[in-house]
Symmetry: C2
Subunit: 522 residues, 2 copies
């Protein structure tokens, strides 16, 4: 029996009207997606401007990792380039990120005797991503991870610390950390390299429209120059022609409560965000308006390691992250661990919220000494000055400060120490560090944990060439590329820490190279 | 310290470039969402046609529950109405649905002594929906559930069976079941009522464009008349003016592998769908193209109760559903239960897939007798003829047929029976029926379980007036309503069974009434 016959029968056997017959019931064909409205037959999304105020080959929207990487490659390839940044200063969220970048199969790992591979990184990404990842994009990130980190060193001159660390969801330590534990170490090198090429971002230049013409091609953008965020009426309208292409690298919408609550109504303004204030959705909305394809917008990540005792990303996450390697995360109501401290971000954020949104991360004197060596004493002292990290001489004092029952807490530490000595965390399956030791003498250092909105996994659909794909046809929109947090699919449901920088740099570079290689439309 | 100062400090204390200062850093304002591209200043999405071939007040796209409900209310309100259906026959997925509709606080529940309320239904919807539901929409469904079922009886003349049943995720039995266990019982009454008003769906009329003019208003649609699904080139182009409004009731995209794998790459063509072949995304894509707001598209539900031994929805789900009340679901590898049989669909579908995608649902002679009384003997025999349900005289025979270890299976039944007698399922927390009895004598009846793509929770964003909201402004798109599976937000992450019909009827009716009440634009 043919498939369509079978289906027709399956339907008609039931006691109701027939729904389909003959050719119409060919399920195989039905699944291919119909493209009934080709752009070539359509109106423009935006009336083309009467005159262009400025003209470039490549117009880059945004000046984070992705935008700067795209601009750099396009400029190196000989294109004329402009970088448009709506805020007063360049760098977006990239410049306040934690400065960690994964490299699978790196020289640092070799030195430390850690076995790793792009395949294992991909596996970790898919596991955290609940297999919602667009695998060809995720594979690109995994395969290019080490090359990209090495490129930041050799080409950009980025400086990293001399040991790997590990973030939740990664099977092994594979993170490079910039010398100052901040993405600014990369952004500043990107800006310096661009300056050598004669290019600086135009700040306070806010995208207000993307010009997509009746032939389906993106031909330029409208901006407000001298824009003052977030005043939509500030600045002066200007039309900028993109003779080759526009690259959207406008970032996520973590700080846009209106848009994020459409996608995830839980994330009201009761949740802080780690993002810079400009992480709003208007450029993404405009991308959808001109025909980009939306995907996975409701997957919005909370950072589990943030502190309620400071605003935004703050400085606590490095401490809480350190405790995932050399300390414990505790539910103070029970004195017990409540999650694998090295689980992915969603698992941990959910666990904290489920445990009353009032958990603590702590370490002992030895852990503190390791952090101090790695992060520098000034930062460690600043955490304590700010009240994000608190110091207690004894476990009893620490327990009392957080209304934590002390005996169960001691039992938890005992159990953990036995696991360390046994070489296996039976309870939660946490990866043990090569230099892992039982928790010992105080003083003890503690940070409270309260998740904040951190990263938007969803965005516009791109292919592995960083081309933005049309919502009607799934084919590339001529003259439009996208890279970084404005896109979706790389990370699936849950992004692994230290993979966003890779995503941005890899697809930003691809977008820039491809944009520069486009034929001019005028 | 003001919020912006605090934020600026939080940022500047770190060792990198400042990102924001002064007015630009007001996070509170940053979160409101910017609407930089009002439609009034914009180009049309679609070139208006030179002439309209036909004119109606209200143009309804789709002829499932929602479309027919909208058409009915609009027609009753005196509007001229056309219903456009792309397939050969009307009814969409509605006509092949299971015919169950929840009513919280119904006369049937009163008769059976079941305590329930809209509040409890809403709580169940939010729990299954992982609180991703747009609560004002979900609340409308819960509050109007009983009214709506009673309306189908008094106004449409729908006939229901005389007892409630229960689907996964519902705290109590609250489902009405149509006399023939199919949504066709409702659709046929909707069609009959519309015929009385002189209105019949125009079948083989496929939406190819929505005309949205430069003033932002939707003014009509382009269709292909005499369209033969899925041939995009079939039929003849026709332009239909909507003097008042267009109502999008075009359904979900469960059978559109291309679009669904963008949102959830796991759902390749290896997964069957319960949907009719026409459940494809082209109308939804067109809605996005003209500026509708996408939300929650990656939440696509698998029906857990489908059988791999028949195509599509088939007839097995009623049996497997019955076993959630009067039988057990078993992992044949272990002989054990593996999930609360009355958990929500996602929990159960995930559990089946995690248990090797080869589970079984079974009941005993008493359960079979209850099903037979409720579903009718012909349907029960048909299931067995088709091989979807198999009969075994003894547990040993049943176990052997599914390579299930018999002793653990017997122990599982023993444990369950003790739970029934104790009045509580300690192991999985399943709700016990009022007439629940221990499982006893054979013969035993079994269906295999293998989840199929069933329902798309995401779609276009609407408000409680069923107005489609613009992606740039979050304000209503003039002249455009939407209802049913093409919309998102009502069900959040996971839809409860028996709530989709409500969703469609409630928002379909609202859309139809409001569309008829619009002022004519010409």
């Amino acid at each position: 029996m043919t498939e369509d016959k079978k289906l027709t029968n399956a339907l008609s056997r039931r006691n109701f009207l027939k729904t389909a017959g003959g050719a119409a019931a060919v399920a195989g064909l039905a699944t291919s997606g119909l493209a009934l409205t080709p752009w070539t037959a359509e109106a423009a999304c935006t009336t083309m401007p009467k005159k262009w105020d400025e003209t470039y080959d490549v117009v880059v929207i945004g000046s984070g990792f992705a935008g700067l990487a795209a601009a750099y490659e396009a400029k190196k390839a000989g294109a004329s380039v402009v970088i448009l940044e709506k805020m007063r200063t360049p760098g977006g969220n990239s410049i306040i990120n934690g400065g960690v970048v994964s490299a699978a199969g790196s020289p640092l790992q070799e030195k430390e005797g850690i076995k790793d591979s792009p395949k294992l990184l991909l596996k970790d990404m898919l596991a955290a991503g609940l297999n919602l990842n667009h695998i060809e994009l995720a594979r690109m990130v995994a395969n290019e991870s080490n090359n990209t980190v090495q490129w930041t060193i050799s080409e950009l001159g980025v400086k990293y610390k001399d040991r790997t660390t590990q973030e939740g969801g990664h099977s092994v330590p594979r993170m490079y950390t910039t010398y100052n534990s901040s993405g600014s170490a990369i952004v500043q090198q990107q800006l310096a390299k661009l300056k050598e090429l004669g290019l600086e971002p135009k700040t306070q230049s806010c995208l207000t429209q993307i010009y997509r013409d009746a032939d389906g091609r993106v031909k330029g953008v409208q901006i407000r120059e001298k824009y003052v965020f977030p005043n939509a009426d500030s600045g002066k309208i200007k039309n900028i022609k993109a003779r080759k292409a526009v690259v959207m690298a406008s970032g996520g919408f973590g700080n846009d409560v209106a848009f994020r609550t459409i996608q995830d109504p839980r994330l009201t303004d009761e949740f802080q965000s780690t993002n810079q204030p400009g992480s709003t959705a208007e450029a993404l909305r405009e991308a959808f308006r001109i025909g980009c394809t939306p995907l996975q917008l409701s997957w919005i990540q909370l950072g589990p390691w943030t502190s309620p005792d400071e605003k935004g990303m703050g400085i606590g996450p490095t401490f809480a992250g350190g405790c995932t390697m050399y300390g414990l995360w505790i539910d103070p109501r029970t004195g017990k661990r409540f999650v694998n401290e090295l689980a992915d971000r969603k698992i941990r954020a959910d666990a904290i919220i489920n445990a009353g949104n009032n958990c603590i991360a702590f370490t002992d004197a030895r852990g503190y000494a390791i952090f101090k060596q790695f992060l520098g004493e000034p930062l460690m002292l600043k955490m304590q000055e700010r009240g994000v990290v608190k110091k207690y001489d004894t476990l009893e004092q620490m327990a009392a400060a957080y209304n934590c029952p002390v005996e169960p807490l001691k039992a938890t530490i005992d159990k953990w120490n036995k696991a360390v000595l046994a070489g296996k965390d039976e309870e939660w399956g946490r990866y043990l560090q090569k230099d892992q030791k039982p928790l010992g003498a105080g003083p003890y250092y503690v940070s409270r944990l309260s998740p904040k909105v951190h990263h938007c996994m969803g965005g516009v659909n791109i292919n592995a060439q960083a081309q933005a794909l049309d919502v009607m046809t799934d084919k590339p929109i001529a003259g439009l590329y996208a890279a970084g947090e404005v896109t979706g699919g790389v990370h699936g449901a849950v992004r692994l820490g230290s993979c966003a920088t890779l995503d941005c740099l890899i697809f930003g570079r691809i977008a820039g190279k491809n944009a520069a290689a486009e034929k001019k439309w005028s």
